[in-house]
């Protein structure tokens, strides 16, 4: 067991964990930050996506030791002072979910996408989001939500 100080959503969080434990496991089971979801543990579904220094990573494939020096943003850290981000608001406006279990990962992935490419084409959205699974099949609405967020909510 090693002690780590993680920078999560702007706060310093002290946690003891084996260095090789996944960031996902630490977030969910040691820090009770359960907004980040477990879907497969193999980087195949995107439910566990978080931002490390603004870039999207599968937190099930990142060790806590590797994340210790990065600024970590989870789904819980996007909203500021009770105001949803444009991506979060767009998912609400489009009703872009059914069960909502994939939603955290979808929103975090889309946030990183729009940070890198503020005006993606539909093809670019599909290519980038393809690693995230929505088993309920809400994909067309999710694409619409990302477009809406890119267009500043005017879609």
């Amino acid at each position: 067991m090693t002690e780590f100080v993680l920078q999560v959503n702007g706060a310093s969080m002290r946690v003891e964990a084996p260095a090789e434990e996944s960031l996902l496991s630490v977030l969910r089971y040691r820090l009770n930050l359960t907004g980040t979801k477990y879907g497969c543990g193999e980087g195949e579904c995107g439910a566990c996506t978080v931002l490390l220094n603004g870039k999207a990573y599968r937190s099930c494939r990142v060790s806590v030791a590797a994340a210790a020096n990065a600024g970590i943003t989870t789904i819980e850290g996007l909203e500021r002072h009770g105001v949803l981000t444009p991506v979060q608001q767009a998912f609400v406006d489009e009703g872009a979910m059914q069960c909502g279990y994939c939603t955290s990962g979808m929103i975090v992935e889309a946030t990183a996408l729009l940070e890198e490419n503020p005006q993606p084409t539909e093809e670019q959205i599909v290519a980038r989001m393809n690693g995230n699974v929505c088993r309920c099949g809400t994909y067309p609405r999710i694409v619409a939500a990302v477009r809406r967020a890119a267009e500043g909510g005017r879609a």
Partner: protein, 701 residues
């Protein structure tokens, strides 16, 4: 820690609501039978059960055993209560799937929520409204007919008396008994029901606040994991737990062949399971190769025809055109993105389990049986979960968590891995369908024979008019654990039937849609056939070698559906589904936005089973229990999807969560035939990996 989940028992809960009106149903209610509350030998609860509570502050709390799994009934049921009570939608709070708080319910499956729970709650709400009217009339000494209800207020225009529901119920606890004769508001007059109210509590899903079953945290909670056998039907030979026992804080729990661990961290629990060395005796078992012969030669008891009319033999012998073929579907996995999960906690001999299940009361029964507990000593709570699609009827994780928690004397959380979910849950049945059909040269169907081995009888009946029929489901001994799956065998039966209909249409030289219309009499089905083909532009669709157009229709569980598909085939024989237009009718629409989402999602999920999903197995093992080896529909697989909703306000609302799947595979298969001349009779039609025992189509996707 603030993330710890807080829960109240019923007494505290009711106290928190304050005094108010409880609307109850006596157990002779007319809806009882139909709502399934007497199903499977379950007697109705002897005590009077509460459905609706109106607080002194005017807040309305509704109790139902149905659960929210993404199908949006938390919203659509609340809309219906708001409608009958004449209160704004926002005033309704739904308490769902908590066995200590809600009336007994069979479970959330079979598209039963909308046709049964909807009317039941509407009836309760209408009764509450009538009771409040009578109360106001008595207070003001006026006739009930003089009063108006609006926005949760009762008003007497003449005397200018006015009171909110809360004011009327304050300080009193009234109990109203419902006879089941209350008049319901017709759909043509709906103001809240029938409108696209957004998903309730949607904000919590975009902020990560919503607590799914796997997110539940309890004070002092430990983590559990289970040692899985090497294969199905395995017997434990020996086990060495010595290494795991030395890990800090790890407790081993052994009961017969069950070997579990409890640890202070999830990571440690998993490490401990890895460190346990067990030897298993796994018997030889069937595989994909030879599966359909196996199913046909291993009947599970005697079977009778579902439907029989005239003589198929005689009609076949005399017919102009005959078509005979076999169709198959593989085992597929529900693969809900949230795997099975549970947190169990024992207090004074009572166990409370938070878990993801479509049958909270079924899981309660499993826990009662496993631990020999009376009903009042088991509580199952079902937070809105990461879906199920028919795959979470059982309480495996709940039982494991309860067992480990009992041994540890602390709350224990169990979350299945993806591999466990693929391997130790249950699957959509595989099936073999053998069909024979005959028609006259003019396109009149004269004979139809349809045998289904193992997959099930759902939607096996002919929607077409045929004089001579033999329709039979043959239960078989499945080599793999199988169970419910969204739309059940309707997908398999409709795939076989609608592919075969297409083959007969081509054999008689008729347009596939015209051929169906010639043999249909069901006006609701005809209406969706027309709605889909008109929107799609079927009349002008001409298939080429690289672009195919196909059609399929069907009905099940009160839903009527027709789909047109457009596919593209490139030079590498790679298939892309380009467009699906699907028309849907299930009576009066309660929430058009939610309905569109369900039907659209069903189409996407249907693409998985149609094109690439297949469980590969052999000798008691699942060979592809990972998303890397089991292809799910992804963003790239989704065509342009156009859902045409037909609103029949004159008809009762039916469930819409399932049957939207049943036309996807045959419509796509028929489109592929139109382009290539190749009839694909096995689902999945374009698997990434060859399924042993199934002929290779040469097409990929």
């Amino acid at each position: 820690m603030s993330a710890v989940t807080e829960w109240m028992d019923r007494r505290e809960f009711l106290k928190g609501l304050g005094a108010g009106l409880l609307v109850c149903l006596t157990h002779g209610g007319v809806m009882a039978q139909e709502s399934g509350r007497t199903f499977g030998g379950h007697a109705l609860p002897k005590e009077v059960s509460a459905w609706i509570h109106i607080g002194a502050d005017g807040k309305v709390t509704v109790y139902t055993g149905k659960v929210e799994v993404g199908q949006n009934i938390r919203t659509s049921l609340a809309q219906q209560v708001a409608e009958e009570l004449r209160v704004p939608f926002g005033r309704i709070a739904m308490v769902m799937g908590d066995t200590d708080l809600v009336p007994w319910d069979m479970g959330t499956f079979g598209s039963r929520t909308t046709p049964t729970m909807g009317p039941e709650l509407r009836m309760m709400a209408a009764a509450a409204r009538e009771e409040l009217l009578r109360k106001a009339a008595a207070q003001w000494k006026v006739s009930v007919t003089a009063l108006k209800v609006e926005d949760g207020r009762i008003v007497d225009a003449k005397s200018s008396h006015s009171a909110s529901y809360g004011e009327l119920t304050r300080g009193e606890k009234l109990v109203s008994v419902v006879e089941g004769q209350e008049a319901l508001t017709p759909a043509t007059e709906w103001k809240v029901a029938g409108t696209p109210v957004p998903k309730t509590e949607i904000r919590a899903f975009v902020t990560g606040e919503h607590k799914f079953p796997s997110d539940v945290v309890r004070p002092g909670m430990l983590f559990g994991a289970v040692v899985r056998p090497e294969g199905f039907n395995a017997k434990l030979i020996s086990v060495d737990t010595s290494a795991a026992e030395k890990m800090p804080g790890v407790q081993i729990v052994r009961e017969g062949d069950f070997i579990g661990v409890v640890a202070p961290a999830m990571y440690t629990a998993r490490q401990a399971v890895e460190a346990i060395h067990a030897k298993w005796d796994v018997p030889a078992q069937p595989s994909n190769d030879g599966l359909f012969d196996y199913l046909k030669s291993h009947p599970d008891g005697e079977s009778q025809p579902e439907h029989q009319a005239g003589s198929v033999e005689q009609a076949m012998a005399a017919a102009d055109v005959k078509v005979e073929d076999k169709y198959t579907v593989q085992y597929i996995a529900h693969a809900p993105l949230e795997p099975r999960a549970a947190v169990a906690e024992w207090n004074a001999g009572k166990v409370t389990v938070w878990t993801g299940t479509q049958r909270p009361f079924g899981v309660r029964d499993q826990l009662m049986e496993a631990f020999s507990l009376p009903v009042e000593k088991v509580r199952v709570v079902q937070p809105d979960m990461g879906s199920g699609y028919g795959g979470k009827h059982t309480g495996e994780a709940a039982l494991e968590a309860a067992r480990l928690s009992k041994a540890a004397g602390k709350p224990v959380k169990v979350v299945w891995t993806r591999e466990e979910e693929f391997t130790w849950a249950y699957l959509r049945p595989a099936g073999l369908m053998e069909l024979r059909a005959a028609a006259r040269r003019d396109g009149t169907l004269v004979a139809w024979e349809h045998h289904n081995y193992n997959s099930g009888p759902a939607a096996i009946s002919m929607p077409y008019v045929v004089a001579n029929q033999l329709i039979q489901y043959h239960p078989a001994q499945s080599p793999l654990r199988q169970g419910s799956y969204r739309s059940l065998a309707a997908t398999a039966n409709n795939f076989a039937r609608e592919s075969h209909m297409d083959a007969v249409a081509h054999a008689v030289g008729m347009d596939p849609v015209a051929f169906r219309l010639k043999n249909l009499a069901d006006l609701r089905l005809i209406a969706v056939v027309k709605a889909a083909t008109e929107r799609f532009g079927w009349e002008k669709a001409r298939s080429t070698a690289t672009r195919g157009y196909g059609f399929a229709c069907g009905n099940d569980k009160g839903g009527y559906v027709a789909a047109c598909a457009e596919v593209e085939i490139d030079g590498d024989k790679r298939v892309r589904i380009r467009r699906i237009v699907q028309a849907w009718e299930s009576g009066a629409i309660i929430n058009p936005d939610g309905l569109r989402n369900q039907v659209g999602g069903a189409i996407v999920q249907g693409i998985g089973g149609a094109m690439f999903e297949a469980i590969l197995f052999g000798n008691g093992r699942i060979l592809n229990p990972h998303f890397a080896d089991y292809r799910l529909p992804r963003f790239r697989d989704v065509p342009e999807v156009d859902v045409v909703l037909v609103d029949r306000k004159d008809l009762p609302s039916a469930g819409a969560g399932e049957s939207g799947l049943i036309c996807v595979a045959p419509a796509v298969g028929n489109a592929l035939f139109a382009a290539t001349g190749q009839r694909l009779r096995n689902m999945p039609m374009t698997p990434d990996r060859t399924v042993p025992g199934v002929a290779v189509s040469g097409l990929t996707s």
